[in-house]
Amino acid sequence: MQHNLTPKYIIIGIMLSWTVYALYPTWQFQNMSEEKKEELRSSGDLEQIESKIIRQGLDLRGGMYIVLEADIPTLVGNLADLKDERLASVIKKANEAAEESNTDFLTQFRQSAELDGIKLSRYYFELGSTLDQILISLEEEAEDAINRVLEILQNRVDQFGVSEPTIQKQGKHRIVVELAGIQDSKRARDLLQSTALLEFYLVKNPSITNEIITLLDNGLKKDSTFAANTEDMGNTETEGTVNNEATNVSELFSNESDTLETVDQLFPDAPFSSLLTALPGDLAVEKKNLYALKNLLNSEKVQSILDKSGGQFLLSNSADDLATGTTEEFHRLYFIEKSPELTGGIVEEAKADLGSLGGGSAGQPVVSLTMNSEGSRTWSRVTGSNIGERIAIVLDNKVHMAPSIREKIPGGRTQIEGFSDINEAKDLAIILRAGALPAPVNIIEERIVGPSLGADSISQGTRAVIIGLLCVIVFMVIYYKMAGTIADFALIWNILLVLAILASLQATLTLPGIAGLILTVGMSIDANVIIFERIREELRKGKTPKAAIDSGYDRAITTIIDANVTTLIASLVLYQFGTGPIKGFATVLFWGILISMFTAVFITRTIFSTYISRRSLSTLSI
């Protein structure tokens, strides 16, 4: 024996034990029964194990992946001290330019502002006096906004009880949310996205609402295109019926009526009200009429009438089947004041609970709301002077609820009632709490992998990889005999070591990651093939086994290093520049190659040396 092999075996032994140690939690977790997991979860020990296992990506396990982006243009618009059309057009232009060229909005905003020659200090005097100051402040505000969204989301997702939610900031203005195994994707989506501005608006009383509807009907009727449009949309059975212009729309609010009547039967040529449905105490719009109604509301004609009226129409956030006996779902429609009475930030606490005994709402779900002193003062004034009126709780321009004001609320402590279940109350409470954000958040990417597809891809993918691996292993043994067996040992260890590193890095294994693993297997096998072919060549030249092994390894090593280092460079670059899936691929590839160099060169060689030193061989099984 030329070299002392003991230190090498010590190194190998240490690494082998580390591999086992690092992979044990994953193995333990995989083989754990659901009951056991539940038990550990309640005792809080599961988290500790989970932090040590290889996490499977959503593409493998099923779940929801969402990328949220703060709407910076809207934020910039909202932050202006002075808002006019010129600023709005600069913001719009900057936004278009940013989308077209994939650049930062604020950079484009600066350019657009300079190009247009508007003085930003006029619009943002509170943020600073120079362009640089203003832009730095805006950038800070934007960052702050997304950080608040991040915090609120983290807070919220915990409340939803999803196991292992991942909420991460990506870049400056984005948040990536991963919810594994989520069942109700719509509820999750709604709650993630509704991080916008919370506002309280007074709802205009029914007679004013009636007036505006009549006004809109009359105004629109003169506009033939809309009339034609809505006739197409409306019921054909009432076509041709002539009606009086000055119809009284108050029937819409007939509180006594508990049957539903579609208004188009009452007012066939009333373009606006024909889209509406009367509900007890509320206006509603059928889902099928929603698009037509939105188009109408966005039309210039309606806008100009509404501008003069000092009010606006807003829809409820969700559609319900409000009436028994119909399958159609409705959105409620509210006519509210143009400007809010209260905005975001004033809510200190909002809690969903069951009403205390003795009160009018005993046992019913309620939301208790506490406001800060500033909010309380305004709230007290607003409620005091509007008893009997309704106040709409508006988030993201959608009305979540419009409870009536029963009495003056002086201290800011408010109780909201009228929920159908505790979940509804909880959702409203979360929304009230989170309402302090100045920028809306948009979903720009969403992927849901159903649990069955995830399970399928795991089982099929794993099976295929294992079959492939077995083929390679068998082939190596047949083709290279003893040497092949050594290479197989190194290969298996290579894979385990990569997985162990992934587990300790808490990396996520995704499909592209598995692709990286396959490439690693290929490269690892290739390293061995290069060495073995070289050894065979040397043997053919008549060298002794020992000399053949030595020169075979020495010559192969430069080849292996050059080939692997180039791929290593590629994986590093991909890691640096790539996003999501490419990054996952690069991580696995990087570690895989490093380890395969180690296993191929160090481990197999050590085993070979032992093999040779123990017997004085005249032939080599290769």
Binding site: L293, N442, I444, F475, A515, T567
Partner: protein, 307 residues
């Protein structure tokens, strides 16, 4: 056991034939891409919506297609019959892909799922989580960012590899390696376009794998060339390359065959999700091996001749 005995094949004399067939395939692929208006990108890059559902029994795509022709969402009418509607894996699964719409309704994918369910109400599994296989929605902005990210990443990786090979070998070898890589990716792109396969994120991962594999293969041969250039000083460069290719042929074949077997098994048994990925790999392994011998090496010879 040995599959390949000592060979002495004049590979380089056949390089013009190989070059011609590569050129034909490349041109075919390019024509197909031009005809189709660029490679067929998945919604990962274009933006759009993908919905895949699982019925309990096989369903008829044509039926679904015509049923998707007239759909009303919140009162707005759509015609999705021209969109891509396909089986997803087996015949009871259906996938529909719709590019980003300007007037996209909210909860778009939920609406599509509802409509799909209403076509064969009796074949919808009871639990929603069993019915919905996957839904994806990618905004157009994200898609275009992803494309430029992927493009930039691949380009910078190629640049650095060029530098490394120039340092370790010679500049002409670097050019040869890059030529082979570009060839491989273009051929794979072309074949994807010809066979109407879609380029998704997973396929990009496959491209990266191909680049890695092909590079490895090329370097192994170049390394032998570098070694033989020292030991066979004075010999004709072409014969040095031929000798090197022959000497490493046994290794090339063993490695390619094993890798090919692995990706073939992945393709056959790996399931729908990695189908396109493993298909790209099958082409890539083949093309990667071929290009090391017939693209990378002749390129180096051509450059050497000019010097």
């Amino acid at each position: 056991m040995r599959i390949v005995k000592d060979t002495n094949i004049d590979f380089m004399s056949k390089s013009s034939l190989a070059l011609a067939s590569s050129a034909i395939l490349l041109i075919l692929g390019l024509i197909s891409m031009v005809v189709n208006g660029g490679p067929k990108l998945s919604i990962d890059f274009k933006g759009g919506t993908l919905v895949a559902v699982n019925f309990t029994e096989p369903v008829d795509i044509n039926n679904i297609r015509s049923a998707m022709g007239n759909i009303s969402i919140d009162g707005q009418d759509f015609d999705f019959s021209k969109e891509e509607i396909k089986h997803f894996g087996d015949n009871s699964n259906v996938a529909i892909r719709i590019p980003s719409l300007d007037n996209e309704p909210t909860e778009f994918s939920s609406h599509i799922i509802e409509h799909l369910a209403s076509i064969y109400p009796a074949l919808v599994p009871e639990s929603e989580s069993e019915f919905i296989l996957t839904t994806e929605k990618v905004g157009p902005k994200v898609g275009s960012e992803l494309s430029s990210d992927a493009f930039f990443a691949i380009l910078s990786a190629l640049g650095l590899i060029l530098i490394y090979i120039s340092i370790r070998f010679e500049f002409k070898f670097a050019i040869g390696a890059i030529a082979a890589l570009t060839h491989d990716v273009l051929i794979t792109l072309g074949v994807f376009s010809l066979l109407d396969y879609e380029i998704s994120l997973a396929v990009i991962a496959a491209f990266l794998t191909i680049v890695g594999y092909s590079l490895n293969d090329t370097i192994v041969i170049f390394d032998r060339v570098r070694e033989n250039m020292k030991s066979l000083k004075g010999s004709d460069f072409t014969s040095v390359i031929n000798k090197s290719v022959n000497e490493s042929l046994s290794r090339t074949i063993v490695t390619s065959v094993t890798t090919f077997a692995v990706v073939l098994i992945l393709f056959l048994f790996g399931g729908e999700v990695i189908h396109n990925f493993s298909f790209a790999m099958i082409i890539g392994v083949f093309v990667g091996t071929y290009s090391s011998i017939f693209i990378a090496s002749p390129t180096v010879i051509k450059i050497a001749e000019k010097d």
